[in-house]
Amino acid sequence: MTIDRRDYGGFVLCSVAGITVIVPLVWMILALAQSGLPGLEWEFLVAAPSQSGRAGGIGPMIVSTALILGVCLAAIIPVGLGTSLYLSQYVSSTSPQASWLGYSLDVLAGTPSIVFALFGYQFFAITLGLGFSILAGGLTLACMTLPLMVRTSEQALRAVPLELHQAGEALALSRPGMIWHVLLPAAMPGIVAGTILSIGRALAETAVLLFTAGYVMRLPGSLLDSGRALSVHIFDMAMNVPGGMPVASRTALVLLTLVILINIGVRRMLLHHKRIYYEQTN
């Protein structure tokens, strides 16, 4: 890889820009690790917080986060999969129905999360009377992440090779049989990857949960209890609790690790999917 003399200018310009991009981001992660790593022990992950979070651990927050994600997934997996199956099976991608669905999902995907916070607070928490609860938080997050879920699983379903469709038709499979035995298994890695991406999006969300799931630090007893998510804990520790910064950094490290694991998971899944697809078509 030699650089032409005419390219020195461009090379220098792009390298400076590239380094400017990488350095602050790496700096950010290192700063976080430096302030968060001391005291990050197993005990911190499982213990209940004390002294309004300054001491103890983040056990209840991890449970609340998992429950909120569970509610969110229980809503978006059936609705998202159903919608993407409908889109890929019953309507052509140019029909008015498909374009309305696409347009409205795009608008939802681009809507600022604070708008979902307003909606979730007013609709789920107040109108439906769920209050500040894990249920309200999970359902609001579901509204927010549904577009991503639909888009990714629709893509996965549309990418199922034509040969598989033809094989299914040659066997005179009914439509439900076709979906169950051919399409879903073939598209599964893509669908799972989409689901994991949605989990990542939901994990990163803070504003929505602050106003729908609330910020009670206790271990939630049911889905109607308020529960504090990890991201909300970071925000609250950093902003509202004097001396809460080390705990905020530590919690941020935990959240970051989760996000990284999710990222690696998706990558593996999609690579695997590509390989299968490649072997099938060659």
Partner: protein, 281 residues
């Protein structure tokens, strides 16, 4: 017979799921409109949109200063992040050895997944004290711009990188055969073809910056005012909703929903512009 019935139930289930997903936008918009209805009368609306006086106790609900702060912060963050993101992607694709590219790409995707509250935390711990030592109070327009720019950088790089792939596949060997310089290849060959997609993708990042809430709350200082300099604290529309939502009642509550509606409308206009230009999102 049972086969037909199965097919019917399948259709019914899938169509209801699709109906639910397709109609979800309507209650969201409807609720925003209903809740901000008292302030939607022309006179009241004009008053809120053109006044900068936000004094909930005195019954003054001017959104102008916060709208300006929101747009200014997002525009500056975009002005910083867009060129850097584009140049970074060019560096990745045209100048770096393939080995490095393959290492940096996953890093980029990983950075795009970092929760925004983590960026906010970094801003609060590192950036704000640094700015404070130079020009107090530190929590300022500048801090918010830097944090948001950092937050949307990975996305700008990702969309540019993705948009460059097709033209690189189609035109790279032709450009190399003509011995065009790398920069020339980008400027004259790749950029004209990928421009629409890149700009579309980057405009979407403006929406992301505009909608960001808590990272901004953490570093912007949250004073309702027109910023006189980069070092003045400001409050954005999103921050205002987050800060006052928990205790707002009456017209105050209405004004917060009106802010939500304004944010949503700006998003809609952005999306519509991108759709009209025929850019794939």
């Amino acid at each position: 017979m049972s086969r037909q019935r199965n097919e019917f139930w399948l259709y019914f289930t899938l169509a209801s799921a699709a109906g639910l997903a397709g109609l979800l936008l309507i209650p969201v918009v409807l609720l925003l409109i209903l809740e901000s209805l008292p302030l939607l009368a022309p006179a009241a609306l004009w008053e809120s949109l053109t006044s900068a006086a936000w004094h909930p106790r005195a019954g003054e609900f001017g959104l102008l200063a916060m709208m300006v702060a929101s747009l200014l912060i997002s525009a500056l963050a975009l002005a910083l992040a867009a060129p850097l993101g584009i140049l970074y992607a060019v560096w990745l694709n045209l100048y770096l050895p393939r080995r490095w590219t393959n290492r940096l790409r996953p890093l980029q995707e990983l950075l795009a997944g970092i929760p925004s509250v983590v960026y906010g935390l970094w801003g609060l711990v590192v950036l704000v004290p640094m700015i404070n030592s130079y020009a107090p109070p530190g929590a300022s327009l500048l801090a918010a711009v830097l944090v948001l720019a950092l937050m949307i950088l990975p996305f700008s790089a990702l969309v540019t990188d993705a948009a460059l792939q097709a033209p690189i596949r189609h035109r790279m060997s032709a450009a190399q055969a003509l011995a065009v310089s790398r920069w020339g290849t980008f400027r004259r060959v790749l950029w004209p073809e990928a421009r629409a997609t890149i700009i579309g993708g980057i405009v979407l990042q403006f929406g992301r910056a505009l909608g960001e809430t808590l990272a901004v709350v953490m570093v912007a200082g949250n004073v309702v005012q027109f910023p006189g300099s980069l070092f003045d604290p400001v409050r954005t529309l999103t921050a205002n909703i987050a800060l006052e939502m928990s205790y707002a009642t009456g017209t105050h509550h209405t004004a917060l929903f009106l802010s939500g509606l304004v944010l949503m409308l700006i998003t809609l206009i952005l999306m519509f512009q991108i759709n009209r230009r025929g850019v794939a999102i």
